[in-house]
Amino acid sequence: MSDRLSVAKTYKLYIGGAFPRSESGRSYPVKDARGTFLANAAQGSRKDVRDAVVAARKAFPGWSGATAYNRGQVLYRVAELLEGRREQFVAETAASEGVAAKKAQSTVDAAIDRWVWYAGWPDKVASVLGASNPVAGPYFSFSVPEPTGVVGVLAPQASSLLGLVSVLAPVIATGNTAVVVTSQDRPLAAITLSEVLATSDVPGGVVNIVTGRTAELAPWLASHADVNALDLAGAPESMRAELEGAAADTVKRVLRAKGAEPDWTVQPDVSRLRAFLETKTVWHPIGV
């Protein structure tokens, strides 16, 4: 044991590429699985959510307009940086989720590999989900998938890193921008991820991360008129219907959660990529 006192980190929000404290000035204690104090996290407010939505909207044209190759490279770079922070994520995962070091290692490895998997998708979704439409007339018609816009993500409550990566990566791989409300009781991995994103090439505002009380923040995200879609992955079961109802006021796309939190180690299919894509069909006459 060293006598040296370690330098503790202040965990903050991540909005528009910056790390503000909550405008509300509130924080809440984050504890490990045994109830031991780990850190204070910012307790985000309605205003923080709205600032995050503004940042996400502002980042949308640039991110959705970037070439698919570029988005793939930027996301792959994130995986490289995640690898560099592996030990930190393992420690946070072990503490937050109350699992042994070996289990925490395999979870972090799976999260990094999941990110790599999604990093390969941006330049493939259009080929896989798009189409050339053989219409019955002298027209060239094609359909391309396009990002839905600003996606509100309620991150999984239990799986603080692998679950978060599994829901966030497909949202931004497809060109959307995200406002993430983290796991309420296990927010530390998400905040560390935000530090990774800030030092990666992901433009500020593409991912915005708000920590705090899910029940307080989620309704503001669900009812915000400039949010186009909502992922209910981490919504408490008791709130899901209410949030889905609030989302209807602006016809948001809602990715529902079924039952308890799924096993995030299962290899995903393309359904999360499809969830936040629109199909655009373009027509032009053919002739001389």
Partner: protein, 475 residues
Amino acid sequence: MWEYAPAPESRDIANLKPSYRMFVDGEFVEGAGEPLKTVNPATEEVLAEVSTAGREDVDAAVKAARRAYDRVWGRMPGAERAKYIYRIARMIAERARELAVLESLDNGKPIKESRDVDVPTASAHFFYHAGWADKLAYAGLGPDPRPLGVAGQVIPWNFPLLMAAWKIAPALACGNTVVLKPAETTPLTALVLAEIIQQAELPPGVVNILPGAGDVGAELVSHNGIDKVAFTGSTEVGKLIQRSLAGRGRKLTLELGGKAANVVFDDAPLDQAVEGIVNGIFFNQGHVCCAGSRLLVQESVADEVVEKLHARISTLRVGDPLDKNTDVGAINSGEQLARITSLVEAGEQEGAEKWVSPCPLPEKGFYFAPTVFSGVSQAMRIAREEIFGPVLSVLTFRTPDEAVAKANNTPYGLSAGIWTDKGSRILWMADKLRAGVVWANTFNRFDPTAPFGGYQESGFGREGGRAGLEAYLDV
């Protein structure tokens, strides 16, 4: 302008019957609801009496659909399902002329449109989807995508038969059974489709058709026995449905309203553009969710385009829907006519400059002369709200960026049009416009192979193409 002698289709071809009944579990039966009288909007005369569904009828239809799903349709090999759906496609084509005349009688749309667009496209939708029934594994939605079960479908009055086809064909191809509610003012062709379905020997209960008003639709979409809701109609009702289904885990697709921008650049072939603008807003009397109702013209050609538009629109013949020369038919109902009239008044009050086609209008029936508003600003109601009638609002822009900003300045996002001779600009615009369908140098084209549906408050889910199958599969 040439004078045309009237060339009406004979209404006898429609085989109009004095009364029509609901179609439940393979039989035509009386409904417990108050019968409705469907009216020819061109003459305001009653065409036929139609039985409507009561609460217990909705329940019976859903139960019949469930039985058919569990016992027959859900487990039938796709190749067999396909052959039933092909039969329907062929029989629609065989009875095309009858269906077209009936559609024009009940809806008010010109016979040339029901004949050349509605009916053939309806047949094509069944034909296209029939072929998918045994090929779903190739749709990119997994190796063995499963149907959802019973679909409750509610359709509007603007394309009565075609919307029924858009809903029923993919549902059946994917292995679902259906309870469909046609619109209150246009139930007839859906009930002839039911006859076709019966003649095609589709197993009883696979398709059930329940005429009625909004209360029947509300009862259907909220019924506990269905697994999927598909709705085409207003954004207002779509939001109500989405809200009412919150937390119920039921798959939902919505095809809602629109306020499409039709963007004309100064290098566009203007005569061709004018034809496209006219088609974009006056096709089907403007009763089209994807109608090009906001014309955005580059300032340098705005006067010329508006002048050409007035000249061209003045030649449109408004009148008897059954006349093969008619360009613009009757407004579907008195209620819709009142809504159009009130929005046009709002346009005048807000200071837009109104021009009305000098065309003569029939003395009886619901008609509205083609109307163009110039000098429209983005804040006006006629630039923001869906009019769903033959009313065009003209706005101007200077730069492509401004055109994009104005085009996208709407909570809707169903369709958009681009007119320019410059290929790179078409592709740039098509990329920037936030709309589900973008027509470049054309407008209002539909095909079963081409996915159709909206962004934002124009709804979610697609109809047509590979993308449209997702709406009816458990994926």
